[in-house]
């Protein structure tokens, strides 16, 4: 479904590389976790995949469903089924959650050949999704993320995911900020949504999340590269040993390139 090949990325107009040759392959039905120290480039990878205009790909490619997405605008990628749950969801004062979601749902539905819903049908449709992440209906009429607590924002991201039914979900530290109960609820929701036809990439710092959402693969990103990949046990190892033992591996590998 997704293939990232030797991806090099800089901030638009700057020289220093943030991503220094990332390779990642995600198949339908899989769950991948990406872990790694602060500043290693995890969010950048997710944002670049979603088409953030601040970054420039200087080398490599992102192939989604067999085609490069590099020339696609963020909305076109969303239409194609890519979804990014933000590490720091943006507050959009003046636009209500329900306005945004209906607008989004219908544009995405139109381009994916699903049926568009009128306001009443949408009401029904959205009800199940609220339940899925146990979100209060009041949030629908509030401005997107505006004044939401940290945890509420994260839950709202997953609620949007539930509504939009993406094919490839990039969840950037969705667990950070959620309390213990909320984490279980949200993880549960994600598990219910996940099936054979979609794929999920989780970015997280905590092994705990992976107890709830069990990944097929775990990758470690250090210094703008994926330096090690493994099964879910790798997360346990990291929990125990930290990243130090991989740090040297990263540099050696970096110089070898």
């Amino acid at each position: 479904m997704l293939e990232i090949k030797d991806l090099h990325v800089v901030v638009e107009g700057e020289n220093e590389e943030i991503l220094k040759g990332v390779n990642l392959k995600v198949n339908k039905g899989e769950i991948h976790a990406i872990m790694g120290p602060n500043g290693s480039g995890k969010s950048t990878l997710a944002k670049v995949a979603a088409g953030h205009p601040e970054y420039e790909v200087t080398k490599g490619d992102i192939i989604y469903e067999g085609e490069s997405v590099l020339e696609m605008d963020p909305d076109e990628r969303a239409h194609a089924g890519i979804f990014l749950a933000f590490q720091y969801p943006v507050e959009v004062p003046g636009v209500t959650n329900s306005t945004l979601l209906r607008e989004s749902y219908n544009t995405i539905a139109a381009s994916r050949g699903r049926e568009e819903l009128d306001p009443l049908e949408f009401q029904d449709y959205i009800q199940d999704k609220l339940e899925l992440v146990q979100m209060k209906p009041e949030f629908l009429e509030r401005a997107v993320n505006t004044g939401f607590s940290g945890g509420e924002k994260k839950r709202n991201e997953i609620f949007q995911m539930a509504v939009l039914q993406p094919q490839l979900s990039l969840l950037d530290e969705t667990d950070s900020g959620l309390d213990i109960d909320a984490l279980k609820i949200v993880a549960d929701g994600i598990n219910k949504m996940h099936g054979e036809d979609d794929a999920i990439v989780l970015i997280t710092h905590y092994q705990r999340l992976l107890n709830y959402i069990v990944p097929d693969y775990v990758h470690v990103m250090i210094g703008g590269k994926i330096v090690k990949s493994g099964g879910k046990d790798l997360a346990l190892q990291l929990e125990e040993k930290g990243y130090d033992w991989l740090e040297s591996y990263a540099t050696v590998n970096g110089e070898a390139n």
Binding site: P53, D75, A78, V90, V92, V95, E103, A143
Partner: protein, 441 residues
């Protein structure tokens, strides 16, 4: 009745000789005072501090003529601009002249007097307040209005009277062969504990050049409430120079919302003057301009007594080569303690060629005062645009939605449904029409 002018004559001074005659001694007095004042009031220019940023060419480069010489064309589709809520509480003026046949004033309930000023010159309150409240020193526009107006809106509420419907003051400006100058006038006196909502509308019926100089005097007595929406929908070639002044007495409230969509050049100088303690007032504004429009707001909030709450949110969206100017004076006099005053001017600049000048001007002589004020000039937030795009909206749509959301805040306060809806549509039309260019980084 022209007197020799003491200042360099301008278009206003030159047209003064066309002042229509009046019968009553009271009006004659107003004419004389206005003439005298006009003759010592120089026409503004860029060297005056209050006019530094304002390009007056739309006035100085236009040959305005008297109403008689203008070749006025008839008004068309007047009914189109009615609002249903004011079906029986509407005053219509065409180029400043009262229109009895379009007006409808029966639906306001007990204790509310609404009509043409010219028909109420003998009313005690008119004698007491007309041309007495207006206070714009050395301002030739104000004095020109005083010299020229015959008709005008008169709204009076007796003690405890609550207007049963919003009053729609519909000022229409017609097409003409040559540019003319119109001088709408308004006097509102709300006695104790009365309550009224006023929609003051200015609409250009065509795309011609004209100048309108509305002067509005408002007295809000103890515990009275006034909600005043002012909508500038003049022709995009027009000049709109307005002077609304409100005096607020003890425990009264005055809330004003000025929405500027039209006019090539608008200069709005609202003033609120506190006359006693415990008042609450608002001077909000929303400006949506494009092309070569210039919208200038110079406001004054004068806190003279303790315990006042005042609020001014002035929001501006600038596209094309448009130019917004904001100067918000806040006075807090020495004995005015416990003042809670909020002022913010937020500007959204959608184009590279747009221009914004903003200046809060606080003069505070008391010490127990909470004054927050700020001004921001910005473009659409790139993160917000990306966020919406990542949810499937096109860049264009995302910018449209964000601009719309930015503008909506002021409009939310307008209580009359159809006007609220009309303004939503106007905002929507504006954001749509301005295919909000790629200006975010």
């Amino acid at each position: 009745m022209a007197l020799p002018s003491n200042v360099e004559p301008s278009v206003l001074h030159n047209l003064a000789k066309h002042a229509p005659g009046v019968e009553s001694a009271f009006m004659k007095k107003i004419r004389e005072q206005s003439m005298e004042a006009l003759n010592r009031s120089p026409f503004p220019h860029r060297k005056m501090e209050d006019w530094r940023f304002t390009d007056l060419k739309p006035i100085t480069r236009t040959e305005f003529v008297s109403m008689d010489e203008a070749g006025i064309r008839p008004a068309i589709d007047v009914e189109k601009y009615y609002i249903p809520e004011s079906d029986r509480s509407r005053l219509v003026f065409i180029n400043g002249e009262y229109q009895e046949k379009y007006s409808s004033i029966g639906g306001l309930g007990k204790g509310v007097t609404v009509g043409n000023l010219a028909d109420h010159l003998d009313d005690k309150e008119v004698e007491e307040y007309l041309n007495k409240l207006v206070n714009y020193e050395n301002d030739p526009f104000t004095h020109y209005n005083g010299l020229m107006f015959t008709d005008g809106s008169y709204i009076h509420l007796e003690k405890g009277a609550k207007a049963e419907a919003p009053i729609h003051v519909l000022n229409l400006y017609t097409d003409s062969v040559k540019p003319y100058v119109s001088t709408p006038r308004m006097l509102v006196v709300a006695e104790e504990e009365s309550d009224v909502t006023i929609i003051e509308d200015h609409i250009g019926l065509s795309d011609n050049k004209y100048m309108t100089i509305p002067v509005c005097e408002i007295k809000v007595k103890q515990k009275a409430h006034i909600h005043h929406a002012r909508i500038v929908r003049d022709s995009l070639e027009a000049v709109h120079v307005s002077r609304p002044i409100a005096y607020v007495e003890k425990n009264s409230e005055y809330h004003s919302y000025t929405i500027t969509l039209g006019a090539k050049l608008s200069r709005n100088e609202p003033k609120v003057i506190q006359e006693d303690e415990e008042v609450d007032f608002t001077l909000d504004g929303l400006v949506l301009i494009d092309g070569e429009q210039i919208a200038d707001t110079h406001s004054t909030m004068d806190h003279r007594f303790s315990h006042a709450e005042s609020h001014q949110l002035h929001k501006v969206v600038v596209n094309g080569k448009a130019h917004s100017i904001f100067n918000g004076k806040i006075f807090v006099r020495r004995d005015a303690q416990k003042i809670d005053s909020f002022q913010e001017n937020r500007n959204l600049l959608l184009s590279l060629d747009g221009l914004v000048n903003t200046k809060p001007q606080l003069e505070i002589f008391a010490d127990d005062v909470l004054c927050s004020h700020g001004a921001t000039v910005g473009q659409l937030d790139a993160e917000e645009v990306f966020y919406l795009q990542s949810r499937g909206m096109t860049e264009e749509k995302a910018k449209e939605v964000l601009t719309y959301a930015f503008a909506l805040e002021t409009i939310e306060n307008i209580k009359v449904n159809s006007v609220h809806q009309l303004l939503i549509d106007e905002v929507y039309r504006y954001t749509k029409a301005n295919n909000v260019d790629k200006v975010t980084a």
